[in-house]
């Protein structure tokens, strides 16, 4: 796991053995780039790379690639999230090249939420590839220097290839085999679904360790602070594939409304501190949804500050 394959700063940090910190920014529902650059500015000194979501929950937004370019121009390290829901293999390869032309060095390969969740439930979906096949596609373009069609690429993309993993979705028994499958497809780093059920996550990690999978890839544990008990309940009941234990909801509802944000942050920091000690956790992916201003505080309180300088 020492050999660097791309100029990605995230890759360098991980290979150097540091705990990496990534975060994410959702692009705006309009063309005002200031929204995204402002969010990025808040977190720039506290994270190593910033994911830009791709029309998350199928709600139409400014495109991930353009937002990544804005970040790149600010001197930040973007992670281009790409879903296979909206693009066929032509568009996928084309967007990868577009990103590569701006020296975007990280990509996160996803299938994407179904469009029925978003603002265009009557639209078509594409799913020409699935997330595993997207991983294979990026690796093929990078390592073979070829398009899927077989022709050579002039200046192939140099991207550190990531994917998501959700240890909490069903059926649990295939969640580790599924990770193995993503590794076989060529994934190099994983950002997990938000972890609230820490025990279940630790079980998943243990099973992954036993199969030697944690030696093959870098797993960044995903965390999201609750802003309120309402959010905790929403995540528990309404977000597919999310596992929020009752104790956490109880803990959030046990404090006064104005104290709830602090309680949410405290839970988040405790989760990070506990998982820092777990073998196989190589960093954290902090998704502070519309609460980016709290990311620096979470990073500092978790003892992950200052960020290493690898360049």
């Amino acid at each position: 796991m020492n050999e660097e394959k791309t100029p990605s700063k995230l890759e360098k940090i991980l290979r150097a053995g540091h705990l990496a910190v990534t975060s994410e920014c959702g692009p705006p529902r309009g063309s005002e780039a200031g929204h995204i650059t402002k969010k990025a500015e808040m977190i720039r000194n506290h994270v190593d790379a910033v994911n830009i979501t791709d029309n998350q929950t199928s709600v139409t937004r400014l495109c991930s690639l353009a937002a990544c370019i804005h970040l790149k121009m600010m001197g930040l390290e973007p992670v281009l999230q790409m879903v296979t829901r909206d693009r066929n293999r032509i568009a996928i390869q084309s967007d990868i090249l577009g990103a590569a032309s701006f020296d975007i060095f990280n990509i996160l390969c996803l299938s994407g939420d179904h469009q029925s969740f978003g603002d265009n439930p009557k639209g078509q979906n594409v799913f020409d590839l699935d997330s595993m096949q997207l991983i294979q596609t990026v690796r093929h373009m990078r390592d073979e220097g070829k398009f899927l069609g077989g022709d050579s690429i002039e200046r192939p993309p140099r991207m550190f290839v990531g994917a998501a993993a959700n240890p909490f979705a069903d059926p649990f028994e295939i969640r580790v085999p599924r990770l193995a499958k993503k590794i076989a497809a060529g994934v190099e780093f994983i950002q997990t679904q938000c972890i609230y059920n820490v025990e279940k996550f630790e079980l998943w990690l243990k099973l992954a360790r036993e199969r030697g999978l944690t030696e093959k890839i870098f797993i960044l544990a995903g965390v999201t602070p609750f802003k309120s008990v309402g959010m905790a309940k929403y995540m528990k009941n309404r977000v597919p594939g999310m596992d929020v234990p009752d104790e956490l909801v109880k803990r959030m509802s046990g404090v006064a409304k104005e104290k709830q944000p602090e309680e949410g942050l405290q839970i988040c920091v405790e989760t990070i501190q506990r998982l820092k000690e777990q073998k196989g956790v190589r960093g954290f992916h902090i998704m502070a949804i519309e609460w980016e201003e709290k990311v620096p505080e979470i990073v500092e309180r978790s003892g992950l500050y200052p960020r290493p300088n690898v360049n």
Partner: protein
């Protein structure tokens, strides 16, 4: 079979506007089984329309017939002699039958009476569900006999996604997750190791993406 459902009667009436002599034409095959366009449904629809036009004070003549199939020349020919008597034919066959009729009888307006939905099964009387989308290159050998193309909302060949929850699909708690069924089957078959086989990028050119499709068998052509 091909599963269809009857169009709302208001929509049918709208498309029949201006025609005074109408043939409602059923089909004895799939649409009979899914109770959308067989002899029985033809009769029920014909009475409803007669009643409607009578109440409107309009003189519209409605006749009924049901063919063995509407997707074969042989049976469609049965109405050749009589078709010209009608201002329009309302076919209760699937979209295949409607079109074959339209291609054959150039001077008669042919209208659809059902919405053709999918290829599927009768789960129980009154409940039909999808099983196949005719992708033209069957992968069921690799997916424990359960089709992710037609039954996974994202057509994931290497699923399940992160939204699978308690056996149900992320799009709706009523929809079974295809990948949960595949995994349950693999478990039963003692073939969980098959799960880790990566299914390669699919050639979709044999599916809708490749344009209208055709199967030609030289050995059986007459």
């Amino acid at each position: 079979m091909i599963v269809a459902k009857q169009k709302p009667i208001e929509e049918i009436i709208e498309t029949l506007k201006g025609y005074n002599k109408i043939l409602i034409l059923g089909c004895n095959e799939c649409v009979t089984v899914c109770e959308a366009g067989g002899k029985k449904e033809v009769a029920v629809l014909a009475s409803a329309l007669r009643m409607y036009f009578m109440n409107q004070g309009q003189e519209v003549k409605i006749e009924e017939a049901t063919l063995e199939r509407q997707c074969d020349h042989e049976y469609l020919e049965e109405i050749r002699k009589t078709v010209d008597q009608y201002d329009a034919v309302l076919s209760l066959a699937c979209g295949v039958g409607v079109q074959f009729l339209a291609e054959k009888y150039m001077h008669t307006p042919i209208l659809p009476g059902v919405d053709t939905c999918f290829m599927g099964v009768t789960e129980e009387r009154g409940v039909w569900s999808e099983r196949c989308q005719g992708c033209g290159q069957c992968i069921l050998a690799w997916t424990a006999g359960i089709c992710p193309v037609s039954r996974c909302a994202k057509r994931l060949l290497n699923g399940p996604c992160g939204g699978s929850s308690k056996g149900k699909c992320e799009i709706n708690k009523e929809v079974p997750c295809a990948w949960q069924i595949i995994i349950d089957r693999l478990n039963e078959l003692g073939r969980m190791e098959d799960y880790e086989r990566l299914i390669p990028i699919k050639d979709w050119s044999t599916e809708r993406a490749g344009g209208p499709r055709k199967v030609v068998r030289e050995d059986v052509r007459s």
